[in-house]
């Protein structure tokens, strides 16, 4: 792998505020994602993890003010116009959302939606689009991809839909795939399969991944590095092994302790995040 001048994605001092009151929700985030690297983002609701993903994709609402720097392949994304960003989205940069039902247009067949993404960014001579769409649908593990391509989203199961969304996200072999809680809405058996699929597809596409979740175990299936977010800031950044065995920040210690249900004898008291990290209304404190 040829070393590049700078990592694939470099985020520096990213600040996002909403509304006229300029309520800041991200307070200066800085992190990098290298080529083919898989980075997980862990946090509870309100920590700002989804906002981060949307900020990188340039998908924030109109009333959002973004400051700081987000560079993809050395190119600054903050401040780019929508036309230029649209050229990147689906091509170099793609996103997988949590709720497959709303990510898919219910009035279009799945095949057409995947084809749309393909045609937007690649030269597809007449007739070849369908072939490639069906091939992609087969690649993501859908049995009978021809039939699925002609089906509408509501006719498919949750797992099937999420595979279609993955197909759309990966068909142009992007360099970075951002996943926002992609398996949270799925059954646990389906989740296991989709995670394995994601792992394989990311390898095949040689893509990097930013994987957002509240579930530590899920993140550890796919990622090699973890960022822990709390109240709009990154409080921990390290390899999966380090974060789980030697967490530095007390909040992370709490999260890891509370996630290890299998370590606690049944019926006894579960460790809570509060045991390690207590917060009051105004600021934050360390151990209680």
């Amino acid at each position: 792998m040829t070393p590049s001048a700078e990592p694939l994605l470099v985020v520096r001092d990213l600040r996002v505020a909403f509304g006229r009151a300029r309520n800041e929700v991200l307070h200066g985030l800085s992190f990098t994602v290298g080529a083919r690297e898989r980075v997980g983002v862990i946090g509870e609701s309100g920590s700002g993890k989804s906002v981060t993903a949307l900020a990188v994709m340039g998908l924030l609402a109109e009333n959002a003010t973004v400051a700081g720097s987000v560079r993809l392949h050395g190119r600054e994304l903050v401040g780019l116009g929508d036309r230029e960003l649209s050229a990147l989205r689906g091509d170099q940069l793609s996103m997988v959302f949590q709720e497959p039902m709303t990510a898919l247009d219910p009035t279009m067949t799945v095949g057409r939606q995947v084809a749309e993404v393909l045609r937007l960014h690649q030269d597809t001579p007449h007739g070849t689009a369908r072939e490639r769409v069906v091939a992609m649908l087969g690649e993501v593990g859908l049995a009978d991809p021809e039939r699925v391509a002609d089906a509408y989203p509501h006719a498919l199961s949750g797992g099937q839909r999420q595979r279609c969304v993955l197909a759309m996200a990966l068909i142009n072999r992007p360099d970075l795939v951002i996943c926002d809680e992609p398996t949270t809405a799925l059954d646990v058996t389906v989740q296991a399969r989709v995670l394995r699929l994601l792992d394989a597809e990311l390898d095949a596409a040689e893509a990097a991944c930013l994987f957002i979740s509240h579930d530590l175990a899920v993140v550890s299936q796919v990622c090699s590095r973890i960022l822990v977010m709390l109240d709009g800031e990154i409080v921990e950044d390290g390899s999966v092994g380090d974060v789980f065995t030697r967490p530095r920040h007390s909040y992370t210690q709490g999260l890891v302790a509370t996630a290890r249900l299998d370590q606690v004898p049944p019926g006894t008291r579960l460790p809570t995040v509060e045991d390690f990290y207590a917060r009051d209304a105004g600021g934050r404190r360390g151990a209680p």
Partner: protein, 259 residues
């Protein structure tokens, strides 16, 4: 406590085409003091089953008995005993509390209902009972005059638990009590449930899709799939030595910390 015999629930009109068999010939027993977990994925109809246990839905065939008496198919006015003794905690803390009622009124609603009001086993002094249950769930009494939207998800779930405890029930049925909560709050609510069940000697029936949660809280487990019971038994046994293929698949699919 509960005896469920060959219970089925079919949706749709009698004999018409297009009926759906949701719950299919389920039989189980819940003993006093037991902590029963019901696990399954979507489509397992586990929620339908517990609604029938609580007489919020009626089976289309089969029978459910509570403390020896038949409760399936009975009219509402005869269900006072069941309603006083069996209370529910729902999954979504946002929709299980009436947004237009104050917490005090929400929590004491079971005490004021026409069916339960005059029963001897239901507390009469509403204010005192309100104070008792709020303390049991670790919420200050001063919060009682507020509205649900002023509370976090975890706090709302505790309010829901307080409401369930108000009429001094014997059985607590919890439908995915922590699934809608943030991970950092789940442990608190689970600890609370554990404590309350132990303190008040309650029988617990808990539905969850999260096998680790069930393993932690329940001593017996029932595995459901598409309306049928695949396997049942003591938790350690089912988890340690699963017999059914589906149970093995479920257990294998649980994501474990990998590093």
């Amino acid at each position: 406590m509960f005896e469920v015999s060959h219970v089925s629930r079919r949706y749709g009109r009698h004999g018409a085409t297009g009926t759906v068999l949701a719950v299919d010939d389920v039989s189980l027993v819940v003993r006093p003091g037991q902590r029963l977990g019901i696990v399954g994925e979507s489509g397992s109809e586990k929620s339908t089953l517990i609604r029938m246990l609580a007489a919020l839905d009626q089976p289309t065939s089969g029978e459910i008995r509570f403390q020896g008496e038949t409760v399936s198919g009975r009219a509402e006015r005869h269900l006072g005993g069941l309603r006083a003794a069996v209370q529910l905690v729902f999954q979504d803390p946002r929709s299980s509390l009436d947004p237009r009622m104050r917490v005090a009124d929400i929590v004491t609603e079971p005490l004021r209902s026409s069916l339960l009001r005059r029963r001897p086993d239901v507390p009469r002094d509403h204010r005192a009972r309100l104070a008792e249950v709020l303390e049991a769930v670790d919420l200050p009494l001063s919060m009682a005059s507020r509205y649900p939207h002023e509370f976090s998800g975890g706090q709302r779930q505790r309010i829901a638990i307080a409401r369930a405890l108000a009429p001094k029930p014997q059985v607590l049925i919890a439908d995915e009590p922590v699934s809608a909560l943030d991970v950092s709050v789940r442990a608190q609510v689970l600890n609370l449930l554990n404590d309350l069940v132990a303190t008040f000697g309650l029988t617990l029936v808990m539905v969850s899709h999260d096998l680790l949660v069930v393993r932690h809280v329940c001593d017996h487990v029932v595995v459901m799939r598409q309306g049928r019971i695949e396997e049942s038994g003591p938790t350690e046994q089912v988890y340690g030595d699963p017999q059914a293929a589906y149970t093995k698949e479920l257990l294998a699919a649980v994501p474990r910390l990998r590093f």
